[in-house]
């Protein structure tokens, strides 16, 4: 029992540390704040507004923004702000779920295609090639006639959208597949599945997490577009649907808030997710770390290099000297050459 508690505690600590890293990153902070606002709005929508989505009030329809209705009302007198708050729910659900599904499916198939022999590679690569050539938007439009529920939309997005992630993951896995630690794991008898989840997945995880955040953002826009052309779930409120209604009646009555607000909501959410994605990329990809980290440890870059060269036992002293001249005293050696 105590052991389990300890595990949970350490997991929580790791998550906390990770969140703290995102929050301290300048881009991540913007993203977390924006996404946080939207998530809170979506969760507490019923408490944030006194109106309901079915509060018909034809007499008070097409009202301009006022203290009662902050963003005005639509043709049926339903408060626009309420619609936007409830619309955030469906946008977040579809965006995040699709992002997760696409990333998981793409990652698994990408790794399998790179690591599990020729047959699976051939099959998966052929599917990817087909999916890349198929005109996706028309296909999506036709397929969304299958069922108008938003679960169907998630399924269609996932079925069509995973190939980009899979290709990216495959390329990354191919480049690390022959590294020594994978070989060592194979030699010590790890099964392919074990190596896939224990060794390969973590080494591409930075790509996956970043890709997940970015594809969440992309699918939110796609969802808004699809529900704008009338292919969304008719039973739930979505930002695209607000814009359809706005196109029908806001233009002639000059209700600017009705047109602007859903777009701003989409922009805030998508921009937030994108910023989190970029921040994650910088945090988790060691190659993109800033030089500041070296200084923070209290070692000057030159001294750090010296330490690295001292640890290189597999090269001769002459080679080490040559390398040192190239990297550490680079500027000066150029001067010498010029003189």
């Amino acid at each position: 029992m105590k052991k389990v508690f300890g595990y949970i505690l350490s997991a929580l600590r790791a998550i906390g540390k990770f969140l703290w890293k995102i929050i301290t990153h300048p881009k991540g902070r913007v993203g977390v704040i924006l996404v946080g606002i939207v998530v809170l709005a979506a969760v507490f929508a019923p408490y944030l507004t006194p109106y309901q989505l079915d509060d018909y009030d034809i007499a008070g329809g097409l009202a301009k923004p006022s203290a009662e209705h902050l963003l005005g009302t639509d043709k049926n007198g339903i408060d626009i702000l309420t619609q936007i708050l409830y619309g955030a729910r469906i946008s977040l659900i579809i965006g995040v779920t699709t992002g997760l599904c696409v990333t998981l499916l793409g990652a698994t198939l990408g790794i399998v295609s790179a690591y599990f022999g020729k047959v699976s590679a051939a099959v998966i690569l052929n599917i990817i090639n087909v999916l890349l050539v198929i005109p996706t938007t028309p296909l999506m439009m036709i397929m969304s006639n299958l069922s108008s529920s938003y679960v169907m939309m998630i399924a269609i997005f996932t079925l069509i959208g995973w190939c980009g992630t899979a290709r990216m993951v495959r390329a990354q896995v191919l480049s690390i597949m022959n590294m020594n630690y994978i070989r060592a794991a194979e030699l010590s008898g790890g099964s392919k599945t074990y190596i896939m989840f224990r060794h390969i997945m973590p080494s591409v995880s930075h790509l996956l997490i970043m890709n997940c955040a970015l594809s969440c953002a992309g699918f939110m826009i796609a969802e808004a577009g699809l529900s704008f052309i009338g292919l969304g779930d008719p039973s739930v409120m979505s930002w695209g649907k607000i814009l359809v209604a706005a196109q029908e009646s806001a233009f002639t009555s000059g209700l600017w808030a009705w047109v602007l607000a859903p777009g701003v909501a989409i922009f805030i959410t998508v921009f937030g997710f994108m910023q989190i994605g970029y921040a994650l990329e910088e945090i988790m990809n060691p190659r993109m770390k800033r030089k500041k980290d070296v200084k923070r440890q209290g070692i000057a870059p030159e001294a750090a290099a010296e330490a690295v060269f001292a640890e290189m036992t597999d090269i001769s002293e002459d080679e080490a000297l040559a390398l040192k001249q190239e990297y550490v005293t680079g500027g000066r050696s150029h001067e010498c050459a010029r003189n």
Binding site: P135, I142, I221, V259, G263, V270
Partner: protein
């Protein structure tokens, strides 16, 4: 090399086969009764009559027989009749394609031209104002849905200030009068002329410039000027919106590939030879940086005839996207099948051409 293209052709045919199969099965999954469109005007309770129609159109055959029959119809290019428009599917599609192309071709040409210019400027001077603005804009435009931008601009320019019209491709009540035979004659003369010029001067440039010029000449010769002006006036707003995001995406592509090319060894060689910076920039860096653009343009060529559903819906533009959307909403699946297949054929052909062109421009790409 031959093997590579053979493989490519086979995989393209495979893609088309899959699309045809999807085309066959999707309507049968979507509609509880796939013969629904054939019942036009037949009352619900006339079950015997309905059964007759089902039998006559082969809906009572086993699925595999229906599938083979469908394959046969596709190979003879017989797509049937659209039940909503009461006309042959081919006729309906070809009446819409030119309208889509008005929007997409013009916006693509404009965005490629300005995108290359902007990208070159931004890539040349990294970290300067133009570059920073480009990066910032690309971040913002990916987060803004373009259809919302279109809505806002419609409200601003068409309703608040009334500068541009907001719906349709022509002023209500007008129809485009086009002299088809004159168009074909002028186009043929222009194309023949440019081919002859190419054979005489042995420069590919003649074809690259000759064909678009003869196309434009044919358009201006066969369509009255007033009509062209009217269409251009209606197309201005949608084109501007798509150009805005188009320029930024092309510029970002050119900028990134400029930066990548600058690090190549041959640029270093050119510099080391002592070539002037301008020559290195325009003859070595810029030309090579345009290579990735070929792939990108080839991909978007496929969308040229498809048009943009969102733009066409917002501006009520009578294009292909709008047609497909209507077909989906009306359950007119014979039409949507044909459109999807047409799109797939265009995409596959464009991919193939892109590959050929890329090989021609970049001899480094050998057999894969």
């Amino acid at each position: 090399m031959k093997g590579y293209y053979l493989k490519k052709v086979l995989s393209s045919l495979f893609v088309l086969f899959i699309i045809i199969t999807l085309n066959f099965f999707l309507p049968r999954m979507i509609f509880s009764d796939p013969a629904q469109p054939y019942y036009a005007g037949v009352p619900e309770d006339a079950l015997a009559l309905r059964e007759q129609i089902r039998e006559a159109n082969g809906f009572n055959d086993p699925l595999i027989v229906q599938y083979l029959k469908y394959l046969g119809r596709v190979f003879t290019l017989d797509f049937g009749e659209s039940h909503y428009y009461k006309d042959s599917v081919w006729k309906v599609m070809f009446s819409r394609i030119p309208w889509s192309m008005v929007l997409t071709v013009s916006s693509m040409l404009i965005s490629i031209t300005f995108g290359i210019l902007y990208g070159a400027v931004a890539g040349k001077r990294r970290e300067h104002a133009a570059d920073k603005v480009l990066l910032w804009l690309s971040g913002v435009t990916t987060a803004i849905p373009s259809f919302w931008l279109a809505l806002v601009s419609v409200m601003l320019f068409a309703f608040t200030y009334k500068i541009f019209p907001y719906r349709g491709a022509m002023t209500a009540g007008y129809t485009l009068s086009m002299n088809g035979s004159l168009f074909l004659i002028v186009l043929a003369v222009g194309v023949v002329l440019s081919v002859v010029l190419k054979l005489l001067s042995k420069k590919n440039l003649c074809i690259f410039i000759g064909v678009p010029v003869s196309l434009t000449a044919a358009l201006f010769a066969s369509v009255p000027l007033a009509d062209i002006v009217d269409v251009a006036y209606h197309a201005a707003l949608p084109v501007m919106i798509s150009v805005f995001s188009g320029i930024i995406s092309y510029a970002l592509l050119v900028r990134n590939s400029m930066i990548a090319v600058t690090g190549e060894d041959y640029i270093l060689t050119a510099r080391a030879k002592g070539l002037p910076a301008q020559v290195v920039l325009y003859k070595h860096t810029f030309r090579n940086a345009l290579l990735p653009l070929i792939t990108n343009v080839g991909m978007s060529m496929a969308g040229l005839m498809g048009g943009s559903v969102l733009m066409e819906k917002i501006f009520s533009w009578p294009g292909m996207g709008q047609l497909l959307l209507d077909a989906c909403n009306n359950g007119d699946y014979l039409l949507s099948q044909a459109i999807l297949l047409l799109f797939a054929v265009i995409t596959v052909v464009c991919n193939f051409i892109t590959d050929l062109v890329y090989h021609k421009f970049d001899p480094r790409v050998k057999e894969v």
